[in-house]
């Protein structure tokens, strides 16, 4: 049982693709929750269903997906029963996403400033959007002139900062980060991870982190869910799952992870 007032509670969520013989249960009766101000990680290998789970929170999974059952309670209201219109109001304003490849997640023909402004105007009518862009860029430690840049003029790390600025434009309550640093160099990854940790404290953000990297889990998350073939096979505090895994799959996975400083046994 989870306590009252979790920002996100996913109960027995199932997402299927295809039907009959070709039925694929991409997400199979998955339950997890994110508490207020908490950072929770969903880890797994490719095809484990972690990304589909994340996208399903606001029904963003590819068109072919069938939401076969379960509930996604965001602030106590089931997202799977909301209309597309209501969901549009929620996406970007209450639940924001950041994606894996910042280099291709921006529209190449518009300036960064234009794109952040659009996010602001979309959900917060009558606000000084230009001033807001400045504030947001400052929040992610980018100079004001970044607003005038086009995506191709920036590095991956700078773009991921812009992506975070855009995601925070409407002060969301939940940030879903889908492999936010996988495409980045390790030193840049470090900066982005630090920034995320910083921000989640500063603005009391709840974060759902999707990743395959246990190092990142150890770094940021307080709790972790391990997914395999659409199911959650293990859950618990980060410490417990990483250092004392119970499920066979988690044990195998932990044994496979290359360590920088292998434990001598």
């Amino acid at each position: 049982m989870t306590e009252e007032g979790n920002i996100l509670e996913v109960q027995d969520l199932s997402v299927h693709f295809g039907h009959g013989e070709g039925l694929v249960k991409a997400v199979d009766e998955v339950s997890f929750y994110v508490g207020r101000g908490e950072t929770v990680a969903l880890v797994g290998e490719s095809g484990s269903g972690k990304s589909i789970s994340a996208l399903s929170l606001t029904r963003l999974a590819p068109r072919a997906a069938v939401y076969a059952g379960g509930r996604v309670l965001f602030n106590g209201v089931d997202m799977l029963e909301r209309s597309e219109r209501e969901l549009r109001d929620i996406r970007g304003s209450q639940i924001s996403y950041i994606f894996q490849e910042p280099m291709v997640s921006f529209n190449p023909v518009f300036t960064i400033g234009w794109q952040i402004e659009e996010a602001i105007r979309l959900h917060r009518k009558g606000i000084d959007a230009v001033g807001e862009v400045e504030r947001l860029l400052d929040l992610v430690q980018l100079p004001e002139r970044a607003a005038a840049a086009y995506p191709h003029q920036m590095s991956g790390g700078q773009l991921q900062r812009c992506m975070i600025a855009m995601a925070l434009a409407c002060s969301p309550e939940l940030l879903v980060a889908d492999e936010p640093t996988t495409a980045l160099d390790v030193t840049v990854q470090r900066e982005i991870l630090n920034l995320l940790a910083d921000l989640s404290q500063k603005v009391n953000l709840s974060v759902l982190m999707i990743t395959h990297n246990f190092g990142i889990v150890a770094d940021l998350a307080s709790r972790v869910y391990v997914m395999q073939q659409g199911k959650i096979v293990e859950e618990g505090s980060t410490k417990q799952v990483l250092y004392d895994p119970q499920h066979d799959y988690t044990k195998q996975l932990m044994a496979a992870v290359p360590r920088l400083h292998p434990v001598k046994s």
Binding site: T187, H212, G215, A218, P258, L260
Partner: protein
């Protein structure tokens, strides 16, 4: 033991004049037979350019590369073809490096034919089966198409293809970066096996320090085209000397 490959003061410059890019600057290192030599650095540091220069997909601008006693930095024509039998490459993306409309075995048969290995078709067939077994795949699978394999299996096929000519040095450019951790571990194990069974040496190019720590004997850290630190992998990672190596190591999220 004598060095398999000795690289001295190697430079690779792209372009000319003001717009030139000095991708590799005065790089010196050596690889011994049967050694796994790691090359780590971030994107744009020149590690891939260096890897390509070693296999002579790039022509080095200056410096020398001595392979088994012969300078190979300026080879061309038939001699270059001979050199390429002994040095092979495996790429990061096993999806992109296999031709989708050709059975994987046929691709290897092609390589054998080009280099006139094996007397006739049946001998080459036997050779393909042998290679498949060597990389841990069922020999009959050679007559399937690339899309029928998983990512890890495809990387095994790429390795089998690289082994077709019995090379002594394999340049592996991020061979496991696109793979899931459990598959990654299997491929690393395969490389380790190949090294012990065949005395194969590797130039292992990677951005992942943890992987390098686990498979390499020695490592060179590249930054801005230069090797800033080189040594035994355990020494470098446990006791880094250069400022950049320290930054890199501190950045790795580890537990």
């Amino acid at each position: 033991m004598e060095n398999l490959l000795t690289v001295e003061k190697l430079n690779v410059v792209y372009g000319k004049g003001k717009d030139c890019v000095h991708a590799v600057k005065d790089v010196t290192f050596h690889i011994k037979p049967g050694e796994i030599f790691g090359l780590v650095g971030e994107s744009g540091c020149g590690k891939s350019s260096l890897g390509k220069a070693i296999i002579r997909l790039n022509v080095p601008t200056s410096g020398s590369m001595v392979f088994k006693g012969d300078d190979v930095s300026l080879l061309s024509g038939r001699e270059l073809k001979e050199y390429r039998q002994e040095v092979q490459m495996v790429f990061q993306d096993p999806y992109g490096s296999l031709y989708p409309r050709m059975k994987v075995g046929s691709a290897i048969m092609d390589v054998l034919e080009v280099h006139r290995i094996g007397e006739n078709t049946s001998e080459r067939h036997a050779r393909v089966a042998e290679l498949f077994e060597a990389v841990g795949l069922e020999p009959d699978w050679a007559w399937r198409y690339p899309h029928e394999f998983s990512g890890g299996q495809r990387q095994r096929i790429c390795i089998a293809r690289a082994l077709a000519l019995n090379p002594e040095l394999l340049v592996a450019d991020e061979p496991v970066s696109a793979l899931d951790v459990s598959v990654q571990a299997e491929i690393l194990e395969l490389l380790e096996d190949l090294r012990t069974q065949r005395q194969l040496a590797f130039l292992f190019v990677s951005h992942d320090l943890a992987v390098v720590r686990n498979i390499c004997d020695r490592v060179a850290v590249m930054y801005n085209g230069e090797i800033v630190e080189m040594g035994d992998v355990v020494d470098v990672i446990d006791n880094p000397q250069h400022e950049y190596t320290r930054t890199l190591l501190a950045a790795v999220p580890a537990f």
